[in-house]
Amino acid sequence: MIRYILKRLAMLIPVLLGVSIISFALLRLVPGDPAVLLAGEDANPDFIEAVRKEYGFDQPLHVQYLRFMGNVLQGDFGISIRSREPVVNLLKQRFIFTLKLSLCAILIASLIGLIAGIISATRQYSIFDNLSMIGALFGISMPIFWLGLLLMLIFGVYLRWLPVGGSGELRHLVLPALAMGAASAAVIARMTRASMLEVIRQDFIRTARANGLRERVVIYKHALKNAMIPVITVFGLEFGYMLGGAVLTETVFSLPGIGRLMVEGIFQRDYAVVQGAMILVATTFVVVNLLTDIAYAFFDPKIRYE
């Protein structure tokens, strides 16, 4: 198991190398000059020259890349051209926020998703099943910014129960987590239902029932555990995407997460910020996937990583 984990972590190296090259190259292929942007419409040529020099944009590309990678290996991701803040600090602040938001969102998503999925599966074609599957369809189809605005309008402006913008307190996260979790809840519900339906029809469930076990034990202990593998896959993917930053949710609710940092970095050609964020997001995605694979072994002892 340990060897497997180490092997998987070693695979991070080529992944990150690839990500760093691609993000570096893409950013420089896009037209637009960070120094000109910083100088604004009534730009001053002396200033533009000085900025290019200070950040090394006057160097050849391969020199810039090697210098960047050399610094990264020492834990230095450079300085944001916009805010002059070290990128490491920005990433830390923003990632912690995104982590909080994603945790809340995935909590909401899995609670709603699992409960709806299990009930729908055990009472297939009942009114509850139909209603929750219609709800899931809405959850998947609804654009997240529209749902976000709707939630803000209802709970913030009309009912005034929750704040519509801001961050820092738990209540600020309720609406964004709901908006963000809705789509994931829908996916998890559908996956749970499908997987449960398959497991419930298997022989060992019939045997368990024939042995006189209570229905509750049959469903929650025997069926659910075996039905979890595909659900965990979905769970891991959804959580990975969430940690990659939810640009739309963060923009609509004006939250300082990693997604907005990245998008604003792109618009401002803040190279160091975008490169740093890409590397961070790629790392998280790989780690979340690894954790998902480890979770398989916990739910299904047949799976062994040797």
Partner: protein, 510 residues
């Protein structure tokens, strides 16, 4: 039981992640974008300037009508030959870090502007001022390289906020992350991409500010800003979209304020490229443009028709006759210029940089069609757009483009000089039009060096008339900035410079 414990532990852990904040007498300001820096000399965006106006002060400042009034200087004198300016400073003022404000601080400020650090706004002083001289503790002299008619406007510019010399010595360029000025509000902290916190300066020389705390929040999404205002999560929101106005007007708890700005949105020509080097072609575009209809139907009258690239509230503005909408005459001019069957051209516009910019570009495309002008319309993201319109003349393939200009020093020279004079062609300056007219250049030179106002204004008028007749660009409209704020908030300053800020008189009623 075990499960119960687990759930409780989870809840406690979640709550621990989010400490409850004490509620103070705080005003929340919802801005449209994150400031870039709080160093006045390097600030290039409106959110930065708005915050800087609350932290820093200038020797001379603009009042709400953009008149020049005393700030940190009580009074000033200009020598008869225009070569020296003497400023008499207010006494007993301290920076937020305790450093005394005096003539040395002003000299430090000027030395920085003209010195080797070269901040982005160095252009306000470096070409004009030779040196600063400390006469005594509270008197300072600026020695000019040549007379300059608008020096006071540059001194009132937000870039000329006086920074604490001790703080700048200590932090250098990083002063932009922990600013120290003399203004009514002090900097507390900055969570990048989220908010800036200010607290009042109890020792402010103008009297104790009435507001205790200001939270300057970045809320990018227009509709989110409006909803925060409606729900009471923000006391003030800038850049209210015109669609939301009718709804907000009905809300008794919200006050709206639309201010006519100094910004003119225009369509620029590449005057160096055929056929736009022919004034008849440019005039044809001018006559084919129906400005009234754009202002009325696209902007719902939240803009004003422009005929001059200088906006009316700018110092040194001279009114020009309205430009008629006459597609027939436009066709005729095109025929004279050798295009009896109409003309094809490329037109680019940003999307979302200015209010309704792309909608306006689409309307123009349709209007020009009636005069036989077919343009293809493309949009680009802002960084690419700036790059495309900043190429030197031999590489420039842009034909028509939409942009806006507002003189941040509130005077007409800062429209005429950077955009139209021959020495300012991009990439050296900002003349993206590749316009060149020696007579015009001469008038700009004369008005810049004018020793008296009459001579200055005479040349300003002639220069504006030349642009009106030559049509190197099509001025379309003057924008208005609409802010909304809680009716409990009194004394909000909504400047025509597109800056909204508070001073020590601003108050929040219970």
């Amino acid at each position: 039981m075990k499960r119960c414990l687990f759930v409780t532990a989870l809840m406690v852990a979640l709550l621990a992640l989010f400490p409850l904040q004490a509620v103070a007498q705080t005003v929340i300001y919802a801005a449209g974008a994150d400031p870039d820096t709080l160093d006045p000399a390097n600030a290039e965006s409106n959110p930065s300037e708005a915050v800087n106006r609350m932290i820093y002060e200038n020797l001379v400042r603009f009042d709400a009508q953009l008149n020049l009034v005393p700030g940190l200087a009580e009074r000033w004198e200009q020598a008869a030959d225009g070569m020296t300016w003497t400023f008499f400073l207010r006494q007993g003022i301290k920076f937020h870090d305790g450093t005394p404000f005096n003539a040395q601080a002003v000299k430090y400020f000027l030395d920085r502007m003209i010195g080797p650090e070269k901040p982005s706004r160095a252009g306000l002083y470096a070409p004009l001022v030779e040196s600063a001289e400390v006469v005594d503790d509270y008197t300072v002299k600026f020695h000019m390289k040549a007379p300059f008619a608008f020096l006071l406007n540059n001194i009132a510019h937000s870039a000329s906020g006086i920074v604490s010399p001790t703080a700048h010595e200590k932090m250098g360029k990083d002063i932009g992350r922990s600013p120290v000025g003399t203004g009514p509000f002090k900097f507390v902290n900055w969570v990048h991409g989220d908010q800036i916190n200010l607290t009042r300066n109890d020792d402010y020389w103008g009297g104790k500010p009435k507001l205790e705390k200001i939270v300057f929040k970045t809320v990018r999404e227009d509709s989110a800003r409006v909803m925060m205002l409606q729900s009471g999560d923000a006391h003030l929101a800038v850049r209210i979209p015109s669609e939301d106005l009718p709804r907000l007007e009905k809300d008794p708890l919200i006050k709206l304020d639309s201010t006519e700005t100094l910004r003119v949105l225009y369509v620029g020509f590449n005057n160096a490229k055929k056929p736009f080097d022919d004034p008849r072609v440019r005039q044809a575009f001018n006559l084919a443009t129906d400005r009234e209809s754009i202002v009325k139907h696209i902007y719902q009258d939240l803009a004003l028709v422009a005929s001059n690239i200088v906006a009316p509230r700018t110092t040194g503005y001279f009114p020009m006759p309205a430009i008629a909408h006459d597609p027939t005459k436009a066709k005729q001019l095109l025929a004279e210029a050798g295009f009896p069957n109409g003309l094809k051209a490329k037109f680019i516009s940003p999307q979302g940089r200015y209010p309704k910019d792309f909608e306006m570009a689409q309307a123009l495309q349709q209007q020009w069609q009636q005069a036989g002008i077919e343009v293809t319309l493309d949009t680009m993201e802002w960084a690419a757009y700036l790059a495309a319109t900043r190429k030197p003349v031999e590489e420039a393939d842009v034909e028509l483009y939409l942009l806006g200009w507002a003189p941040s020093s509130a005077e007409a020279r800062w429209v005429l000089f950077p955009n139209f004079t021959t020495s300012q062609w991009v990439p050296q300056g900002n003349n993206r039009l590749f316009y060149s007219n020696p007579t015009f250049d001469e008038h700009v030179e004369k008005l810049t060096r004018a020793a008296d106002i009459a001579e200055r204004d005479h040349n300003l008028k002639l220069a504006q008339e030349i642009i009106y007749q030559d049509v190197p660009l099509l001025p379309i409209l003057i924008t208005k900035e609409t802010i909304g704020y809680s009716s409990k908030l009194k004394g909000v300053i909504n400047s025509p410079l597109e800056l909204t800020y508070f001073d020590h008189h601003t108050e929040l009623l219970k």
